[in-house]
């Protein structure tokens, strides 16, 4: 088996080297992106077309090309191609939105688990905090504090104006960060398995709180959840202006709902870009190095002057704040939250994205999140859909003479999501234990030495010039 793996990886390496020569990467990435775009444009529902389209950023990111070119092609994809294709098939936009949400969650969890090495099994609790903050204040819930759970407001009025959403995006970040610190304080003495169990408990506490805080005052409306939650206002004139461009490209009149989908896609995109920049910069600083040092060896880290408590709390707070931001966005996007969305399985899901992608690796974690979301939303559901059409078509498998309609509905692929997922994780752990895109340490010695040499030469030139 290892030989097979070796052959495969050398083959892909050879291919990659060949792709990276001269102008080839430019031509290849443009062709690939055009192919993906055309395919999705022609058949918006095809999974293969979608997979080709969605995998193009990986090539753009990894092929050796001018950074400005990469940036331009990335911006065009994100701001032109995805919106146009997404409005034609709103499911595509929804998938990308979910990828962004989970990628941000995974990046946040990656700080705690991947960088600082603190296993957190209750991460989704911070997501819940963000979501419930906006759910409670951005709905009619504040009018219903003293009614029995399940009552709906008759006035139709909201407690706060819809534009308070933007304020709450930041409040959600802050509150989640504070929650992170509050969780961190008592559990910092714990390590490894013990820490994992306590954080798991904490995650459940938040969910149970959401479930039961409908009495004595009805804060969360219990298991029924809060609805409707306001979405931020969209300007009608802006929508009309955009329709002029979008309608002909899309082929129908773009509705307000579709504009909201676009808005949330863009908002998630902004958050994810900010998160990526933040994580990258934190990682490449004293703080990031201290986190990694704590992960590698706590005793050595503290003996070298790294304040353990402070740095661990910072990791918890930073990780939690990203989840808080995404929580607010999620509540507004769904216009509905209920405790169900924040179950233990969600925490596990985010954790497996991190592990699948590569602990501590920023591109890895994003790819991990994308892979899991696409598997859940596109591949498995697509297969289920395909099977059910086969069932209805009355087709028969030749040779064994099996009629598709006799296939048990228990064999629906969407029902095997968790099993498949477990299998994938097991296979990954055997063949690629460091994840899809393993974390790499930055190389910098040569660079800094050269920089120093250049400085030195410049100084010498300067001296010579002065002497003259």
């Amino acid at each position: 088996m290892p030989e097979l793996k070796l052959n495969f990886s050398t083959l892909s390496q050879k291919l990659f080297v060949r792709l990276n020569q001269g102008k080839t990467p430019y031509i290849f990435s443009i062709l690939y992106l055009t192919l993906g775009t055309t395919l999705v444009y022609i058949s918006p529902r095809s999974i293969i077309a979608f997979l080709i389209f969605i995998s193009s950023p990986i090539f753009i990111y990894y092929l050796r090309m001018d950074t400005r070119f990469k940036l331009v092609i990335g911006v065009v994809t994100a701001l032109v191609l995805v919106p146009v294709l997404g409005v034609r098939n709103i499911f595509l936009l929804e998938t990308i939105f979910q990828i962004s949400v989970f990628a941000a969650l995974a990046l946040g969890l990656n700080i705690v688990v991947g960088f600082a090495g603190l296993l957190d099994l209750g991460y989704v609790a911070f997501y819940a905090v963000g979501a419930y903050v906006w759910a409670i204040f951005g709905s009619q819930q504040m009018f219903l504090l003293h009614s029995i759970p399940g009552t709906t407001s008759t006035s139709g009025q909201f407690f706060l104006p819809a534009s308070a959403f933007y304020l709450f995006l930041f409040l959600g970040i802050g509150l989640a960060a504070i929650t992170g610190i509050l969780l961190g304080l008592p559990v910092l003495r714990l390590r490894g398995d013990y820490l994992a169990i306590v954080t798991l408990g904490f995650g459940e506490v938040i969910r149970v709180l959401a479930n039961n805080l409908d009495k004595p005052i009805n804060l969360t409306n219990g298991p029924q959840g809060i609805s409707p939650i306001q979405r931020p206002p969209l300007s009608a004139s802006l929508m009309d202006a955009l329709r002029i461009f979008l309608n002909p490209l899309v082929g129908h009149n773009v509705t307000e709902g579709e504009f909201y989908n676009l808005f949330f896609y863009l908002a998630a995109l902004v958050v994810i870009v900010v998160v990526i920049i933040l994580v990258q910069r934190l990682d490449d600083s004293n703080v990031g190095r201290a986190w990694t040092a704590i992960r590698e060896d706590e005793v050595a880290a503290i003996a070298m002057g790294v304040p353990l408590v402070k740095m661990k709390l910072a990791a918890f707070a930073a990780g939690a704040s990203f989840a808080g931001a995404m929580g607010v966005l999620f509540a507004a996007n769904r216009t509905f939250v209920s405790p169900e969305s924040f179950s233990f399985m969600q925490s596990i899901g985010v954790l497996s994205m991190v592990i699948l992608g590569g602990l501590g690796s920023i591109p890895g974690v994003i790819v991990g999140a994308a892979a899991v979301v696409i598997l859940n939303l596109q591949v498995l559901q697509g297969l289920s859909l395909y099977l059910s059409t086969l069932r209805q078509s009355g087709a028969v498998i030749p040779i064994i003479n099996f009629e598709w309609k006799n296939l048990s509905t228990q064999l629906d692929p969407a029902k095997y999501q968790r099993m498949l997922f477990g299998l994938i994780l097991i296979i990954m752990m055997i063949y690629r234990p460091a994840g899809l895109i393993p974390a790499e340490r930055r190389k910098r010695e040569l660079h800094s030495r050269n920089a120093a040499k250049e400085d030195h030469i410049e100084e010498e030139i300067h001296d010579v010039v002065e002497e003259l």
Partner: protein, 267 residues
């Protein structure tokens, strides 16, 4: 002038007294060794001085300031740095990053500076990198900066650990069996390095060591521990001639046989 002074320091684990009323003074600029048989409490004494263990009793003063009750990172910040008996590098970080972690307390980086990459932040990082490169050259690991620490050979890992300890500009460097597992050639190089640390950087060095060649070769003073107590202290010559020391190492019978033999063979 005393740099570090301990008075009656005691550390107990349950019923076992690992360090028993240790009195001890190290002057600035000295190279001082603590020797003693396995289990004598040397490493525990180190851990007590660096704040990893809290002593049950006694005083520890560093530069006339008590370090009792301070956290290890605060003590490191005061200027005590150390290496570990069984090398404790950050294995999955590069050599440069390992050394940069040692500079944690010396770098002033604010969250704002980090996030917005302020000019000040960049300047600090650049200075830190240059300092790391100097330290790497100083301890003789130039060119290995981008290697992962765990991929280095043993002797090199020791040097990285020393560079990491040096990067916080310590006044006092504690070396816990720094030449353990080295071959004679590497040991000679290590001895030369320790001398340079003191002579060129002015760092006071306290080391735990088993290799008598190292101890007798570079120490200016030696303390001998046995069963948690200091049983002798003095110059290398005094220690070599001290019957209590030989007894602690070899037992009473052996002492009577081999006083001369030991001192000849090990120097």
């Amino acid at each position: 002038m005393p740099l570090l002074e301990t008075k009656e320091v005691t550390k107990q684990f349950g019923g076992l007294t690992a360090v028993d009323r240790m009195d001890f003074v190290i002057d600035e600029g000295q190279i001082f060794s603590i020797i003693g048989p396995n289990g004598a409490g040397k490493t525990t004494f180190f851990n007590t001085m660096t704040g990893i263990y809290k002593p049950e009793g006694g005083q520890i003063e560093f530069m006339n300031q008590s370090v009792i009750g301070k956290r290890p990172d605060q003590i490191a910040n005061l200027g005590i740095s150390r290496t570990f008996q069984n090398i404790r590098l950050f294995g999955n970080m590069t050599v440069i990053e390992n050394i940069l972690v040692g500079m944690f307390t010396r770098l002033r980086q604010s969250a704002i500076g980090i996030i917005f990459r302020s000019r000040y932040f960049k300047g600090e990082e650049e200075k830190a990198h240059q300092r790391v490169l100097e330290l790497m050259d100083f301890v003789g690991i130039g060119g290995l900066g981008d290697e992962l620490a765990r991929n280095l050979p043993y002797g090199m890992q020791r040097r990285v650990e020393i560079a990491r300890a040096l990067s916080s500009d310590p006044k006092l460097l504690l070396l816990d069996e720094p030449t353990a597992g080295m071959n004679p050639h590497e040991t000679d190089e290590a001895i030369a390095l320790f001398r340079r640390l003191r002579d060129e950087l002015g760092i006071t060095i306290l080391l735990i060591e088993h290799d008598m060649r190292v101890v007798m070769g570079i120490s200016e003073r030696i303390s001998v521990m046995d069963y948690g107590r200091k049983i002798a202290e003095g110059t290398p010559e005094e220690i070599r001639a001290n019957p209590k020391v030989i007894e602690a190492y070899l037992g009473r019978e052996a002492m009577e046989m081999s006083i001369d033999g030991l001192s000849d063979a090990d120097v």
